[in-house]
Amino acid sequence: MQIPAPFDYVRASSVDNALALLDRHGAESRVVAGGHSLLPMMKLRLARPDWLIDINDLFELDYLLVDKDVLRIGAMTRHTTLLESDDIKRLFPIITDAERVIADPIVRNRGTIGGSLCQADPAEDLSTVCHVLEAMAVVRGPAGERMLSMADFHRGPYETAVAQNELLIEVRIPIRTGSSSAYEKVERRVGDWAVAAAGASVSLDSAGTISRVAVGLTAVGLDRNVTEVEAVLVGQAPTEELFTEAGRLASLACDPLADQRGPIDYKRHLADELTRRVVRAACRRAAASVSEITI
């Protein structure tokens, strides 16, 4: 039987209250949102906080807002809400693609975008998604708010720039015209972590040329976007040869480990194939949004 070590539990009533509680209880306190990463770690005694600060009552952080040219997502927005949102499907289909394969439908009822990003698991999908969408993380602490790029927010496996007395409160994603995106993952079964996954975001200009592209990989040892792909694709018209080259560059850039989910060469093969597919899908979706272009 897996039971967490003893702790004290307190429910935060507002963001300010959560920050005050973090400040009061110090280094041995942890925030719990959906709890589907932290509670399993506590059950295995990999995490042993003295204080658990439950932020599930912070409905003020559960929202999706299109605010001019930015989509603002509250940190407590559940995966199910993201998956079912028409705004997300229209603006950022990469999020819909990813949410469909994050954990399972029941876990998605509890898990939150803020929790996923703060857990920063190397096989976690939304970190890659936010990297390629050039999202900004809004972090609040006693000294006020700061905005971090994903590169600054995500420090590495299980590590973020959020300090002990701070809270991630919002994710902001820039909305660009002529743009679209896609995500694809290979997993052994529903609910398992990715063997490998890839995400892409593409902008096309009015002539149908790629004006911006970002490609990211999940679970294959790369914490950054595959910048090598950007250098080759920008300024080109999307073609099958270009997608193949993107895949080749991604498979070279990644650094997977062999584990029970597969050997290194298989994971490199997946990085290649999945990159081709998501760049192709993102280009097609972007072209469909600029009706005169066909690919």
Binding site: A5, Y9, G35, H36, L39
Partner: protein
């Protein structure tokens, strides 16, 4: 700490340790053993209960986190002697073999049909994809849920009479 919640329509208050998981609170404190405790790792879904109408895996929710919420367990599905259409469907279409996964499967089915009264077979498969039937009786589970969708008020009186006389 003291927690209160509504379980199957009944308000309960108990003194618990904060580390008690919802599944153990339901089974050991409330003695409602219809909710099963399986893998303990959020994989199998036999511990699924409804929290404010949404299925959750109760091995990965603290009882303290359910404080103030409404929980439905398998014991709360039937309305007195009248089975929920989902329960009736599992009988009609042989939706269980050993029965271990059944409470979680039926609660997920109830939530699915509340949200989407006429699901496609693929939508049913997707809804139960976070749950494991180790007898591998998935085809009959899907048919049971379809039966429930086709009979939103359960079996007709006629059928019940036939069964009584049979």
């Amino acid at each position: 700490m003291q927690i209160s919640m509504t379980i199957n329509g009944t308000f309960v208050t108990r003194e618990i340790e904060p580390r008690v998981l919802l599944v153990h609170f339901i089974r050991d404190d409330l003695r409602l053993t219809g909710t099963h405790w399986g893998c303990d790792t959020t994989n199998c879904g036999t511990c699924v209960v409804l929290m404010d109408g949404q299925p959750v895996k109760s091995c990965t929710v603290l009882a303290a986190m359910a404080d103030g919420h409404a929980i439905t367990t398998v014991e709360g599905l039937a309305n007195g002697a009248t089975l929920d259409p989902v329960q009736q469907g599992f009988m009609e279409e042989h939706g269980l073999q050993c029965g271990f996964c059944t409470p979680g499967m039926m609660l997920t089915a109830r939530a699915l049909l509340d949200h989407n009264p006429h699901p496609e077979p693929l939508e049913i498969r997707e809804a139960i994809s976070g749950q494991i039937c180790r007898c591998t009786g998935y085809a009959t589970i899907v048919r049971s849920i379809q039966w429930a969708a086709e009979h939103p008020v359960g079996a007709t009186t006629e059928t019940t009479d036939e069964e009584v006389h049979a």
